[in-house]
């Protein structure tokens, strides 16, 4: 019994550009997706995430490497012989069929009897909250409803793996958040693995068991959302996931000295070697220093104070001119009043919360 449902071994793909060159979309990618896992492929556009998804579904032929699904080699199989279904970005519902016919398509193709088909369609539509909508046409549905039909259509044949290609990008914010939770619940109920592609890091952190951050056709980091957020392996991951303050410098004992003379304290771990490194402090790890602050501090001149509801975002610069972002809970209004007047803030941080990225780990 294997514990991975999908295995990619050295998957490579390059596309020719119109100018005669070539672009590497997948650079010898090794990836294992576990059974019953919600894995997100996250990255900026052009990072190879969609190519990776299409390689798994069979629409992109690999230049090199293998793809195994449930232990079977799928590398040369056409899309219609792979036990994988996709939810497309623009839903791709068949406009000339009803919701019921759309949903039943995979079963019809597989030769399931009509009565059984109807039963399963009803169950699938109920699962996505569209019970009784069989007779509608796709164009009569709202974007969110179309999304649900696409989902029902893709899960009805019980694929071993469901691929989702930025399925929520066309929905408005509230609906998107509701769908995120629903998708996660659905995945648990179905007990099949989901591979979800997105460029929205918030979405990736919210829904995933593990996140693979892609850039330049390579997986930069593959880990749980918390590990990726707290311990990014390189500055690309650190800046792509969440806002971040990065300080490049040299480690000197329990402090890191930047080139412009700023000193960042950190908790000295046994493994921490001396040498070039980057210190990461997340904006929410800063707090406003009190009188006789026991924690290390950083003085900044404020350029902007932005109220975003639950927090204030402070945009400032250190005396050396380095940009710093801090997030202060909006509950402490009196403190904000002070810094709004002086336009200066003393930001404190816990050295234990500072994450060091070592130069050798840089991609």
């Amino acid at each position: 019994m294997q514990d991975s449902i999908v295995r990619l071994e050295g998957a490579s793909k390059a596309f020719a550009t119109p100018e005669g060159g070539s672009v590497t979309a997948l650079d010898a990618i090794d990836l294992q997706v576990r059974r019953n896992e919600f894995l997100t492929l996250l990255g900026p556009s052009g990072c190879g995430k969609t190519t990776l998804l299409q390689a798994i579904s069979g629409f992109v032929e690999l230049d090199g490497g293998r793809i195994l699904i449930d232990g079977e080699d799928m590398t040369d199989r056409p899309p219609y012989r792979r036990p994988v279904n996709t939810v497309f970005q623009n839903y791709a519902l068949f406009p000339h069929m009803t919701v019921g016919e759309n949903t039943a398509y995979a079963l019809e193709v597989a030769g399931v009897a009509k009565a059984k088909r109807r039963e399963q369609v009803a169950a699938a539509l109920k699962m996505v909250g569209l019970a009784g909508m069989e007779g509608r046409r796709p164009r009569q549905l709202s974007g969110g409803q179309q999304q649900r039909v696409a989902l029902a259509r893709a899960i009805i044949a019980r694929p071993k793996l469901l691929l989702l290609d930025e399925p929520l990008s066309a929905l408005d914010k509230n609906l998107r958040q509701a769908m995120q939770i629903e998708l996660k619940t659905l995945q648990h109920e179905l007990g099949i693995s989901f591979i979800f592609v997105t460029h929205d890091q918030q979405e990736a952190l919210t829904m995933s068991d593990r996140v693979a951050v892609l850039s330049g056709g390579r997986i930069q980091q593959l880990d749980t959302p918390r590990a990726i957020y707290d311990h990014p392996v390189n500055s690309f991951v650190a800046t792509f996931i969440g806002a971040s303050n990065l300080f490049d410098g040299r480690i000197d004992g329990d402090r890191l000295m930047t080139g412009d003379g700023t000193e960042i304290r950190h908790r000295r771990a046994p493994s921490t070697a001396s040498g070039a490194a980057t210190a990461l402090i997340r904006p929410e790890q800063f707090f406003l220093a009190g009188e006789g602050e026991p924690f290390p501090t950083l003085d900044v001149d404020l350029e902007a104070i932005v109220f975003v509801g639950s927090t204030f975002e402070l945009f400032g610069r250190t005396s050396a001119g380095k940009k710093v972002i801090a997030e202060i809970p909006a509950g402490r209004r009196s403190l904000i009043g002070d810094i709004e007047r002086t336009r200066r803030a003393r930001l404190a941080y816990d050295p234990a919360a500072v994450h060091l990225i070592h130069a050798c780990a840089e991609a």
Partner: protein
């Protein structure tokens, strides 16, 4: 002036010229022809102003026993014309449909070039182009000469003056009319739907029948109608490539008007052709509007 009235005036001004033109040059002659079809033919051409339904009788089987007998040849010509027009539609579709897919996948520049090539024949005279086909198909024509010289045949083939030659000529003439609507719907086809079908387990053949064909059907039906209608009444192609051997409706009508000088009978034939076409169009409109109404009801 209220906005509603101003709108109406604008509409009248914009639609005025075309309405006037069609009323004078289309509805007028049509009315004349309809009246003529119910009048008796004059002895030396022209018409006698008496009600005479037997023009239609000659075609449908209740001829005036004084002058003419009912002759089933007209119905035979009718059926053969419908058959040849239908085969023309089918052949043109077989040529245009795959080509539309190829051209739709080209880059913008090549697309426009190919569309230009397809409309290119319009720049030359139809008659000249058809006579070139005569040169190609006749007994001493290009095809026969080539086959003879290679020894593949011992005697020239009868290529010209056959139903096949007429269909070939009509397909040649009507290809642009079929291609444009077919291409229009093929180009609009959303290929992610094709992908979705493959993804859901349907092979290429099933995907064609269930997704590609239904989604491009409007273009196919549109092309079929605008090829079928002129093909049914065409008389130039049969006259040149069909010789005297093959009579089609278009030639028959032309002959009645110009050679036999029996205007009422020619009019009756023309009215018959038109009613068949109207019937076809009505069926099409009815079917397609009912499909639309279905969708509206489900709303």
């Amino acid at each position: 002036m209220s906005i509603a009235i101003r709108r109406r005036v604008q509409l009248a001004v914009l639609l005025g010229p075309v309405s006037l033109f069609l009323a004078v040059f289309f509805l007028g002659p049509l009315a004349i022809m309809m009246v003529t079809s119910f009048l008796a033919p004059g002895l030396y051409g022209g018409v006698e102003w008496t009600f005479y339904p037997h023009n239609f009788g000659r075609i449908l089987g209740f001829a005036d026993p004084m002058f003419e007998d009912f002759d089933p040849v007209y119905i035979a010509i009718f059926i053969r014309s419908v058959k040849i027009a239908a085969l023309t539609v089918l052949a043109a579709l077989i040529v245009c449909y795959p080509a539309a897919f190829c051209i739709a996948r080209l880059s913008e520049r090549w697309k426009n070039f190919c569309l230009f090539l397809i409309t290119l024949p319009f720049f030359t005279s139809l008659i000249v182009r058809l006579f070139v086909w005569v040169l190609i198909l006749r007994q001493t024509g290009l095809v026969n000469e080539m086959l003879l010289s290679t020894g593949m045949i011992a005697r020239p083939l009868d290529l010209i003056y056959t139903d096949g030659a007429i269909i070939l000529g009509m397909v040649y003439v009507f290809i642009p009319f079929m291609f444009m609507p077919v291409y229009g719907s093929v180009e609009k086809l959303d290929w992610t739907l094709v992908r979705a079908s493959l993804d859901l387990g349907a092979g290429p053949i099933r995907t064609f029948w269930r997704i590609i064909l239904p989604l491009t059907a409007p273009g196919i039906v549109g092309g079929a109608i605008i090829v079928f209608i002129p093909a049914l009444g065409n008389f130039v192609v049969p006259a040149i490539l069909g010789g005297a051997k093959v009579m089609m409706l278009g030639n028959l009508i032309e002959q009645q008007f110009l050679a036999a000088r029996n205007w009422p009978f020619g009019s009756a034939l023309a009215m018959m052709v038109m009613s068949v076409m109207l019937l076809l169009l009505l069926v099409y409109v009815f079917v397609s509007s009912r499909r639309g109404a279905d969708a509206a009801l489900n709303r």
